[in-house]
Symmetry: D2
Subunit: 503 residues, 4 copies
């Protein structure tokens, strides 16, 4: 990475490759707007759209405008849009990228920039990642500043395909020029996990197999494919959620303390804990697929997964998966890590539950002392709370469950909470790779999931994918498995939850 | 203890010895009203006032009425008052107590009670405890039910005087017939400490010298002697607050886990931890005495301690004391336990602060990571909160202090919180001695404090009692000592505290 | 306890009640000889035999002489024997004991002793303990020194009978005047357990359920009843070995750290841990009874237990028992404590085995890393050794089991190792009750074993007592149970054991 | 690394570059003899000496013969010597190395080997490492098997020079082709440390700042420079012993548990712990230089360091250094790691001492309970022993220090203990890099020591190098420092040590 002295690293050319696509207008440009509007991009920055379509700058800007958030400062937004210029080019021609290089240089020259810092965002299908990166490197790489490339999943669909992609990339990019996005790593509460774990003495002696009974990481979505299940059917819930998002969360919950908060020190630890996880097999999972369960006023609920016109009638793609992972190291040997993700479930929620063991030698009697649980809710309504036992106020010395609570809506009422992409793109501009997936992490992540995925995809194997109703909690077998693993479910106090929401 | 089968243990005769005094009308009868009103006393109970004065039942009742709380049920209160009958007798004559015995028996007979359960409350000066107990035992002890005796501090003023009193009592009463009240043991949050500690796995591995830096137990009162310092000058803040109330709190924070929640199992552990505490000397304390500091609208503040007409001009009685205690056992060796109590300070507060050690090998950098602290506020506004470090919401990965909070006014808004005396007297009725001070506890408590007290009272010793201003935080030397012991003070976030108060 | 100032506490009258019996001549007098010979008895001491038989001093001495050990100092032994004088008396007559009192006083007077310190050793059947103690107290108690009474098991045969005996004793003796002997408490390695546990930081953090898998306490005897099984058949192996000796060892392994090494601080902890042990039932034990298994040159082996002429043909008295105990406290919840005792087994051995858990997240591979085990051998050949894994010397990095060893025959070659009785009687003289069983310990010990004993003795219950061969390792079901409890057996390296023996 | 299938990896060409030098004949060839004689080299292996001198094979063999160990199998040794052939070449000429390549190929062809595996040992001065490696790579690299290069310290003399060397090497060799020898990593007890730490549950919970007071790693040599101090004066004791050997030992004592025993998993952990160590400054060390102290019969002792004719008269090169290192991580924060090395001291010894903290809340009284210490003696007489407190056998309950001991001369009497070089060269043949220093380790090692070294070498700084007497224990200031760091010295029991030596 090259940051020339005397240059402002935040004056950049941000090149959106695939600027005419959906991802670009729906996700990337709105985030760029926020970053620019909040002053995180230098005043001399350009945002260059690149695609095969023939478009004028104004046409691009018109396409983008509807997707930007409402604002009370329309002039400022127009100012932003003016920065969103366009360059037409092919994805497989060196001369196109050479042209892009010239174009960027001209822009830089106009602004009198000594260094040309470039961030390339590949809003493109993964099958062109390798070739596009090669051309970016050979033709459009900055000679006077840094160049960084952002790519998004899928990073392959199994160990082999991922290895091929990684090899293609590594031939032309160094590790510190590659920014693989897993947007879960940009979430406030996922990043907070690092602080909760490593900045609190209180958790230090208890964060281990002696005290923790199980860890659960859940992702629940209350809607199905909504008629557009074609892409999903190629991947399934495991590739979509578990192998990347939830596994990333797991590594942060489980990893050893890093030497520092430097990107590679943290990623070293993530790789280390991944190495200790055994590859999954069918025995470690419960798979489900939702079926229709018509609910008044909910169109989506009338359609089971296979009712989606884009989904084949004989699809056994799981839309729900509970998977148990075992980390064979000193800290975690014997503690099940349970991942659970599903579509068309009863609620929207992503959270981490660290359940502690029963109090040994309990003196308060059966039924009163419930297990401690540290809950970190990622979405919605960020919160950290610790379920504890407390004396029930009143005459008797009775233990009853209550909460030590940190609700963001109460505590950080006025804090500005950036969204994941905003954070991550700013990290790219700052050259901070902490929250991006390194190649060796990817290798391990696929090592863990590939055998399972192959087993599922082997149609002869007769894999059991359990139907569950739209809007339900998923297959009962999942709860059964979780219970067998020692998890003791105690619902949160409903009145409390309500009062909390209204704080 | 004798509980005859087939009897209702809550049908009792509650005998208030010293019924014409201040303590009786201000404290005891109001509590009895509550207990009776809440159904904790059997319907056939009698409340018998006993004193030397000549009084009719009606006269007694008239005296009591003004001190009972306002009620919306005046008839019910009159019903209660009717139970408050009177018996005149001397404190040193056997025939008086024999008369009392007959009187109680007659009352029981009227109600057709088979067993006569008797609770004697000695609202009397301690110098008559021994002789009165002897007469109660010999003349008025129940032959058909249980008899229990409640006494209040002072239980002596040093090891020797306490031993004499204990010996007098033990000659006539068995340990399980004696209920020594320390009303701090009746407080909700003091009792809760048992549950917090022993019903939560999360605290189990961290409650020790490896993880805890210091423990602080504070009592602050925002007013002085208010012109009635005569009694206080005989005892001083150490005897008044530290040697009993704060030491009781300390034992509960520090003791090992008991075998069960049975009274003697808990008291065994309290004695055990007391035995490990070294006796205090002048080197372990900072003593203070407040001086006038006139504050607008506060009459009391114009009068320093020695300005109180009841206090001798050369009094060196401390009105403030910080004392450091060392517990030489496996769990606590090296952890200072700091007690702090004072009159005429800046606020009213009693709380426990367990401060944890710095995070070892901190990766978040100096100044960001503050120490974890578990705070249990006894009064006012009961609360348990844990100061933790959390990611500051926003773009940066920065640790900042926040709170995992349990505020009673939010969580237990509608819970009925009995006051300490109510709880304790109910315990006596139920025969539960858990929250009462056993003789061997008393021996140890005095062993710890007597050498210090004698040093202070040795006028030749030239003990340094530091003047501090009315309404201040006490002598600066106290903060200095606490800092030297490794305590790191970080004020609670004021906005949070305010928001919390308004929840 | 009364120790008059200016007196030598070791100038005593040691009264052997039951002086004409077997226990006296075989056990007590030989121990007294050692104590006297080693200077632990004051020069002015007397040893007074008391029994119903008519005997002269010389006759007593002639009876004792053959049982004393060989000595190279025959004159010194004769000097000792001269101190062994005799007083004839009945066990149920006040005048006999009054006579004894006079006799002792005369002896004291002869020697000009100001104080008369008296130790009464009851070498008598337990059914006279109560009445003899009453007479000793009323007639022969010292008025000028201390008096102490030593009694030996059996202390009852179940909870009820033990309670009756304790009540009889407590009526006439204070706890600090009673010395109940369990000779296992006098053994070097049992006492050493206190030091090993509480004087070594290395064991402090690992002595708990997080690290220890199981604890095993074994007693093995290589011979049977040898034709004199009458007494044994009344008690059985559980009363003979488990309920007292092995349970005492267990409490020392399992108890919390005492406040100090004072007798009552230690006994408080022993009682505390006993209280946490659940009473045993038939489900917790494997019972066995040996049958003949003729071995060349071993007469005893030809006789099964029921072949003993003193044993009834239908006896179901166990001669072998494995029992699993559960201690429900913070330290031990979930860790099985296994006691195992048997007669007619393959070897003579008493030892404690603390087996640690598997290394979590083992990196050395299956089969190489064996479990750590701390072994304390009580008899024969005292030793402490820790089985550890070490690199096998040579080219490969392979773990293999080896030993950190402390063999007394090597390390303390020249140390004089007193026998249990010698130690204990000296403790009595010194007034140190640490190694004697307190009444409340006894209550708990019987509480734990009584239900099991009653179940076994209920002939209708059809209790299964498994036959095992003389000279074997006991019933196979015992090993099965121990394995099911998670114990992993790895034999000690035979070559090492041999080399060690020859060190 | 290329290991062609169907080839025997132990059939190698071992090329000794610098074959005519001292290191080769004194160290390398004798080790190769052992390896070959013990069957660790394939039968078809060749040992090719390479140097500038003109030598015949026979001349080389004649030079080597006197340095080989005595053997009872002279024919076998001659067989070995016949394999030691010679090739003359320059170190800076491509054609020489091309010739070597041809020569090796011819030898392989003679033996019909399909693959040519080559190990190059650079017994050369470090200033030619870079150029020689470049030529080896370009001219003599195997095309049909693996090629590996062994180099020996010094790897630079500070961060900068080391970085230059590493860069030179990394240009031509991949990390997995480079074998940097630190022969301490080949020592039995250093390797054993891995097993002791990670294969024993007993040490798992105590190996940390809560339980360990300090760690000491010592190296003592009983002789001085013996008149050949020229080379030593260029490096000094820090570069000679601390920065490499002792630091390697330290990393193994201090590192976190690796994911596996694979070379890079272990080296990752070593780097990780090194990263947590702060760079040393003069404040962290005591430096010494020995002076003459004539001892009867010891010529060497008559000569102080500066009396060595090869040493400049004003040399301030330390021959002794005690250095305190601080590891700022969760496990070790606050625990001093003390390295100590010196020449001309009172004995020959290299050992590791892990001293545990005092027993908290000690109940055995001052002076009896000494600290636990785990001692691992690297040389001479390998041993592991744990200093523990045990009951002193006898009447009293007194703690006294004793040992749980594992003496190799007793336990592994008949085991063949390879020397460090033998082990390491075999590792090279096997392609196992576990015990070799990786480039990033080297970077960290120099980062830690370079500031200190530069301070010492800055003659203006007036660094204090304390004179100490030949044959002494080094400067008293060293003991003072160690004591201030909390180390409590208790000498080993001399009688025990003697008895042990004679076991």
């Amino acid at each position: 990475d090259r940051i020339t002295q005397g240059c402002n690293g935040s004056d950049i050319s941000f090149i959106v490759l695939g600027a005419s696509g959906d991802l670009a207008k729906k996700k990337i440009y709105p985030v760029l707007w926020k970053l620019w509007n909040n002053g995180f991009m230098g005043a001399n920055s350009n945002i260059i759209g690149y695609a095969r379509s023939k478009l004028t700058d104004a046409e691009l800007q018109d396409r983008l405008r509807p997707f930007l958030p409402k604002t009370t400062q329309p002039e400022r937004m127009e100012e932003f849009l003016k920065k969103c210029i366009y360059f037409q080019g092919a994805y497989d021609k060196a001369e196109s990228f050479a042209g892009l290089d010239t174009f960027i240089s001209e822009q830089d020259a106009k602004k009198g920039l000594k260094c040309s810092n470039r961030v390339f965002y590949l809003a493109l299908p993964p099958n062109v990642f390798g070739s596009v990166c090669a051309l970016v490197r050979s033709e459009a790489w900055s000679k006077t500043g840094y160049s960084r490339v952002i790519i998004e999943k899928p990073f392959g669909h199994d160990s082999e395909s991922s290895a091929i992609l990684s090899e293609q990339l590594s031939k032309v990019l160094k590790e510190n020029e590659m920014y693989r996005i897993d947007h879960y790593l940009g979430k406030e509460m996922v990043q907070n996990m690092l602080v909760v774990r490593f900045a609190n003495t209180i958790f230090t002696p208890s964060w281990n197999r002696d005290n923790i009974s199980s860890v659960q990481i859940s992702f629940k979505e209350p809607f199905g494919t909504q008629g557009r299940g074609g892409y999903f059917d190629q991947s399934g819930i495991i590739r979509d959620i578990l192998q990347n998002h939830l596994l990333q969360v797991l590594t942060i919950v489980a990893m050893e303390k890093p030497v520092s908060t430097r990107a590679d020190d943290i990623r070293d630890e993530k790789v280390k804990v991944l190495k200790c996880i055994e590859a999954l097999s069918l025995d470690d999972v419960v798979l489900g697929q939702y079926v229709a369960n018509p609910i008044e006023g909910d169109e989506d609920s009338k359609m089971g997964y296979k009712d989606d016109p884009q989904v084949p009638d004989d699809s056994i793609t799981p839309t729900f998966c509970t998977a148990v992972m075992h980390i064979r190291n000193e800290r975690w040997d014997g503690v099940p890590f349970i991942m659970r993700a599903g579509k068309a479930l009863n609620e929207r929620k992503a959270e981490i539950r660290i359940q502690f063991k029963d109090v040994p030698g309990d003196i308060f009697g059966f039924g009163n002392t419930l297990r401690n649980e540290l809950v970190v809710r990622i979405q919605p309504d960020e919160a950290v709370y610790l379920k504890i036992n407390n004396k029930n106020p009143g005459m008797e010395l009775e233990a009853a469950q209550t909460y030590l609570d940190l609700s963001y809506n109460f505590m950080y009422k006025d804090a500005k909470m950036p969204e994941a992409y905003e954070r991550l793109i700013l990290n790219v501009i700052n050259g901070d790779q902490m929250h991006f997936v390194r190649s060796d992490e990817l290798v391990e992540a696929w090592r863990i999931f590939t055998p399972l995925l192959h087993s599922i995809e082997n149609k002869d194997a007769g894999v059991k994918v359990i139907p569950y109703k739209y809007g339900s909690r998923g297959p009962e077998a999942s709860n059964k498995l979780i219970t067998e693993l020692g998890y003791v479910y105690t619902p949160d106090n409903a009145e409390w939850a309500k009062a909390k929401a209204n704080m």
